[in-house]
Symmetry: C2
Subunit: 361 residues, 2 copies
C-alpha cells in the first residue's frame, strides 16, 4: 500500500467485475450482455468513418448523439448527457451531488458498483434492505432523509432480482427525497411493453430525478462503453459544463451510438427475442426447482432450494467446469441464488441440459 | 443553479475548450493536434475489427495495450494504466491522492484544466509563478510542501511556452516533494532527440512520480481519447484496482491504440516533420517581430511586442476572420502572447502570409 493514497482509497476494495474469458467456447451468461450482435447499421457506420477525422478532437459534448437520444425520449438536447458507459454517469452524479462525508443511498441487495463509487467519493453509504418480495420498504425515503442522503441510486428493473417497480412508487420516493434520485435503467429495454413503463414521465414533475440508460445491453454494445443520463437542466447542466472530462466521448463512439439508436427495429427485435427466451427459460428452470421472480430484464435470479442436491455455489462451480459461466454472489442475501443472463436459445438449452444432469443425476 | 450541486461545484466555472469548428476549410492551429492523419495501420486495424466482439465487455484493464506500452518504455505491465485521454489520468491522480481541502500544486501559467479538475475535487489550489525565462523557482517544492500539497502537476515540455525542463531539475523536485509529482508529457514526442530526454529514468529513483502520455498529439488520435500513466506500482495499483471506472477503455480504442504504437516508424516521421516545420515557423515568426522561446512541442508561443501595430487579441481575431484559428489566453501572464499549433507546411505558409499582411500593411 502506498503512503500517498487518500485514507478512504487505501481502506477500500475495488469493484469485482464478472469473469471475461477470452475464448469463444465459453457460454457466457454471467455479465448480462445481449446474446445478439450489434445492428448491421453499426458495422456500416464504422466502415464509413473518415479516419483522418481522428486527428482532431471530437465534438466536445457529443451533440449529434444527444440530439438522437433526446428525440427518442421526446426530450430536449439539454436534458441529455452522454457518458462512457453507465459507470461514468453514476460517478458523475456522485462527484456533482454528494459531499464527502454526506450520505449516499442504495438498496440492499443491488448493484455492487454503487458502494465502490461511493467509497471513492468518501460518502457515508446508507443501505436500505429490500423486503423478501423484492419491494422497497414504505419508509425508504424517510430513512435516506434522516441520514442526510444527497443521492439515492435505485436500479429499475431491479438487479439482481429482475423485478420491476412501478412508476407511481418511484414518483412517491422522488417526491419524498431531499436529495437526488438516480433511477438506473440499465435493463429497461427488456421490460414487457404491456407495462407501458416510461420513467421520463417523472421529469415533468420532479427536478431531482436522473434516469440512467446504457447501450451495453439493449444495443449489444458493452464493448463500446456508451451510456447516457436524462434529467432536467438543473441536474444535467453541471455535469455537461463542469464535472465530466472535457471530450469524454470519442469520435468513433459518437458515430456508432447514433447508428445503433437509429436502427430501433433491429434493437427492438433483439429485446423481444430475449423476453420470449427469458420467459421460456424461467419456466424450465422452475421445473428443475430453480424458481425465479418475474423478470423484466435480460437475466433471471434463480433460488436454489434448501433440499436441492447441490448448493448455489456448487452449481456455479460445476457449470463453470463444463464451460458455462453464470454469476454467483457470496453475500448473505444472495448466496442461495444464481444470476443467469439470457443467452441464445441454443445456449439456454445447453444450460438447462447441464443443470438437469447436475440436479437430477 | 441547482440546489442539489455541491457548494464547490456550484461555485466553479467549467473548462473552456478550444474552438472545434466542424467545417473543413478552417485552418485549425488552436488545439495542438498533429497536422498529419493517424497511421495507415490504424485504418487497417479498424477494418479488421470483429463487430460481434462489441457485444461483450472489453478486456477490463486493457492488458494487451498495457503490454505494448510497457515494452515501448522498458517497463512492466503493472507500471502502466491506460486512460480515456490524458484528462482521465489527471482526474484519477487527483481522486486517488488528493484529499478534499488538501493542496494541489501547479505552475502559473500552465494547463488551465488542472485547476478545473482541482476545483471539482475541492482541493486548495497552490500556484507557483514561473520565472520570466520560463524556469521554475528554486523553492518550488518547498512552497508546495509548506502548503500541504499532495499532488503537483508539471507539464514538460512546458505548455504554453514549449520550453523543456531538464530531468535533473525534475528529479530534484521529486526528491524534495512530500506528495506525488505528475509530469504531464503530452508533448514529449516532439522533443529534439538530441536531448536524450526520457523521464522514465526517474521511476528507478522515485516512488512518487507519475508520467502522463497521450495518443492525442504524437499519434494523431485526439478524436480517440487515449492516454496512459507510467509509475511505480504503489501509485499505479490503486488507479487500476480502485479509482478508475471499471472497463474504462473500450474495445475499439484498445485495438487501435495497439496498432498506432506498433507503427513507430510512421509516428516518428510525423514528429520529425513537425519539429522541422516548427523551427522554420519560429524563424519566420521572429522575422515578423513575433519571438518565441525554443519549443520542444508541436506549438509555439509568440510574444507580440508592445510597439507592434496590433495587439495579440487583435491578431487572434483578424486571423479568425480569415479562417485561421490560433489560441489567445486572456490572462495577465499571457495576454500579449499567441499560441500557435504547428500545421502542415501549406497551413504554416498561409498563417505567415496573413500575419505579414496584418503586421506589415
Amino acid at each position: 500500500m502506498s503512503q500517498y493514497e487518500r485514507p478512504n482509497i487505501k481502506a477500500m476494495q475495488g469493484y469485482t467485475w464478472g469473469e471475461q474469458p477470452d475464448d469463444d467456447r465459453t457460454i457466457k451468461l454471467n455479465t448480462n450482455e445481449n446474446p445478439y450482435p450489434p445492428s448491421p447499421q453499426v458495422t456500416h457506420a464504422l466502415a464509413q468513418l473518415d479516419m483522418a477525422r481522428l486527428r482532431v478532437y471530437p465534438q466536445p459534448t457529443a451533440d449529434p448523439l444527444r440530439d438522437v437520444i433526446s428525440n427518442l425520449h421526446n426530450l430536449t438536447r439539454d436534458q441529455v448527457i452522454v457518458t462512457n458507459g453507465g459507470d461514468e454517469g453514476l460517478r458523475l452524479a456522485l462527484t456533482t451531488f454528494v459531499e464527502p462525508g454526506a450520505g449516499f443511498g442504495m438498496a440492499n441487495p443491488s448493484y455492487s458498483l454503487y458502494s465502490v463509487l461511493a467509497q471513492i467519493q468518501d460518502a457515508n453509504i446508507v443501505q436500505v434492505d429490500i423486503e423478501s418480495d423484492w419491494s422497497y420498504p414504505e419508509d425508504l425515503a424517510q430513512q435516506m432523509n434522516s441520514q442526510k442522503v444527497q443521492l439515492t441510486c435505485l436500479v429499475n428493473p431491479h438487479a439482481p432480482s429482475g423485478t420491476l417497480h412501478s412508476l407511481s412508487q418511484l414518483s412517491a420516493i422522488a417526491a419524498q427525497l431531499d436529495g437526488v434520485l438516480l433511477i438506473d435503467e440499465a435493463y429497461a429495454d427488456f421490460v414487457e411493453p404491456t407495462q407501458n413503463y416510461d420513467a421520463t414521465q417523472l421529469l415533468a414533475d420532479h427536478d431531482n430525478v436522473l434516469i440512467l440508460r446504457t447501450f451495453s445491453k439493449g444495443y449489444s454494445l458493452a464493448g463500446l462503453r456508451l451510456g447516457y443520463l436524462l434529467g432536467n437542466t438543473n441536474l444535467i447542466d453541471p455535469l455537461i459544463t463542469k464535472t465530466r472530462d472535457s471530450y469524454n466521448i470519442d469520435h468513433i463512439s459518437q458515430a456508432l451510438g447514433v447508428s445503433a439508436l437509429e436502427d430501433q427495429a433491429y434493437a427492438q427485435d433483439t429485446w423481444q427475442r430475449v423476453r420470449e427466451d427469458r420467459d421460456m427459460l424461467a419456466a424450465n428452470l422452475g421445473q428443475l426447482g430453480l424458481h425465479c421472480p418475474t423478470s423484466h430484464t435480460n437475466f433471471l435470479l434463480a433460488t436454489v432450494s434448501e433440499d436441492a442436491p447441490l448448493s448455489a455455489q456448487q452449481i456455479y462451480s460445476q457449470l463453470k467446469d463444463v464451460g458455462v459461466l453464470i454469476r454467483y454472489f457470496d453475500t448473505p442475501e444472495l448466496n442461495n441464488k444464481l444470476r443467469i443472463s439470457i443467452g441464445t436459445p441454443e445456449q439456454n438449452q445447453i444450460l438447462l441440459a447441464r443443470l438437469s444432469e447436475f440436479l437430477n443425476p
